[in-house]
Each structure stands twice: as C-alpha cells, then as structure tokens.
C-alpha cells in the first residue's frame, strides 16, 4: 500500500515534465505569434499526418511555422500563405479539406447517411404502426387462451 502511494506521488511529480517539450512560442511579438499559431492550426504536418503544425514539434513543422511567420512579417495575407502551401504540398496540407465536388462525399456523406437512416427508421415504424392497427382484434375465447398460455409459461419459468 505504502509503495503504491509512493508510486502515485512520483507520477504526479513527473507530470509537468510532459509539458516540457511542447512547441515553444517566441515572445518578441505576441500579436504576430498569435497569427502564426492561428494559421498553423489550419496546416497539416506532413510528417505526423494527424497533427497540425501548431501541435507538432517535428522539424518540418517548425520549419513551416518559421515560413508562416516570415511570410506574415512580409505582409502576406493568411489566404496567400495557405495558397502558397497548397501549391507546394497539395490540398492535403489543409487540415480541413476544401468543400468541392470531389470532397462532397466526405463532407456530407455522414450527414446524408444519418438522414437516410432516420428515413428508413421512420418508414419501418409507420409500417409497424399500421400493421398493429390493422391486426384483427382477438375474440374473448382467444383472449382467454392467450392468458392461460401466458400464465402457463410463467408458471414453467418459475419452477
């Protein structure tokens, strides 16, 4: 028990180390830095493909961030920089894909699947509802038989 407690304590103590290596923000121009980081969240790191270059410390990501910073400093607009990156690395570099005919399936596929699914569910429920209403009512005899069957089953189940 004692050693377990110690172990947890050690884990808690080393926890801040996990943050030690996160992407460093240079402090000399906070406004520019903010723009660099904002734009970086839209760009994919091609080495670590499921991260943006804002999240990544890979060398390429650092280089790309430097490029973004340099270009912003030169007065280029955000859109110009994105266009530059797309020209060099392809549309894959954009973290959220563009909406165009080849990506319609990607963007709207899940939603349309949901709509279709709900539609199917609705139709089935309505059919079932209709069937229930159209089902012939039971006569008194049949009611009695059903009741006895049910209670009989229940009896068996208990024994």
């Amino acid at each position: 028990m004692h050693s377990k407690f110690l172990f947890v304590l050690v884990l808690l103590l080393v926890m801040p180390l996990a943050y030690a290596d996160q992407a460093v923000i240079t402090k000399d121009d906070p406004v520019l830095e903010k723009r660099v980081m904002a734009l970086s969240t839209h760009l994919r790191c091609l080495v670590c493909q499921n991260q943006t270059i804002a999240d990544s410390n890979a060398e390429l990501a650092v280089d790309l961030k430097n490029q973004v910073r340099e270009k912003l400093r030169q007065g280029q607009s955000e859109q110009e920089i994105l266009d530059y990156m797309v020209k060099r690395y392809g549309e894959f570099v954009l973290f959220s894909p563009l909406v165009k005919s080849t990506t319609w399936l990607l963007w709207f596929g899940p939603l349309s699947l949901l709509v279709v699914g709900l539609g199917v569910l609705f139709v089935i429920l309505r059919q079932r509802h209709k069937m229930m209403q159209q089902a012939p009512a039971l006569s008194a005899d049949e009611h009695a038989r059903a009741a006895s069957l049910l209670s009989g089953k229940e009896g068996e189940g208990h024994s």
């Binding site: 091609l46 390429l60 020209k87 690395y89 392809g90 894959f92």
Partner: protein
Amino acid sequence: MNRFLLPLGAFIVLVIFLWIGLTLNPREVPSPLINKVAPTFRLPQLHHSDKTIGPEDLRGKVWLLNVWSSWCVTCRQEHPLLVELGRQNLVPIYGLNYKDNRDDGLALLRSSGDPYVLSAYDREGNVGIDWGVYGVPETFVIDKSGFIRHKFIGALTPELIQNKLIPLIKELNGA
C-alpha cells in the same frame, strides 16, 4: 432473402473500399508540383561555397534533383544506388543537401562516394519547403524545359530505377 441482400451488398462494398485503403500508402502525398515549372532557387554549392547553382543553369537537359542529408538514414541506404546510377551516365544527378552541416555532408560524400555532378547547399531548408519536400530522401525528375515530371518520395530502389526512372528519362530525352 431480399432483405439480407442489400445490407450484404453494402457490407461488401465497404470491405472493398477498406481493402483498397489498406494498400494505399498515406505517406505518399502526391505532389502538386508535377508538370509544373520547377521552383527557382539560387543556392551556394556544397563543395564551393563561393559558387552558386540554380535550376536555370540546367535548362536544356533532363536531370535529377536528389534531396539528401547526412543525418538521414534512408538517404545513406539509397546512396550506393545513386552512385551506381551516376556511373551509368544516363542522367546527371544533382544533389540538394538539405538542412545539413556542410562538413558532415562533405564527409559522407568522401566516405561513400559522390554520385552528384554537384550539390546545392540548403542550410535552412527553405528551398526544400519551396519544392514541397517533407521527408528526405526525395528525387525529382526535371525535363529539358525545366518542368518537374516526377517525384520519388523516399528511397529509390533497384526496381524503381529499372522500371520507372530509366524508362522515364529515356522518354523525356527522346521527346
């Protein structure tokens, strides 16, 4: 029977898509620079820092640009193949020494052979970014009018050289 056919069909289509997905290599991002004019640059040479090199100097011939670095393990694996290709005199190979120390780069060429006509020295990697380099080694094929015709991402292999690179160079030289 029919009510199972539709879900089964959908399932089979899904499996086929996933199967194809498994065979794709997500690391190979097709370059948008293919069939575009090669991005220009003017860089000092690796061996002679007082001389420069740029794509304009190579107009009129088909050439390769191999992006390499001494710290890149895969480049070292690829290196003997390039030396061999260089010996065959099929195509001039130019190097882009990417984010390397000049001395380290030169040392590698001294010890393992130098397949390059010459290497450009890209200390900061800015030219690399301009060319859309994201993982060394990469090899670009540039045609006589300065257009990039192909990009090999990752190390070349004997098969790639025989089946793809050499036929492409012959085709570009013939045209």
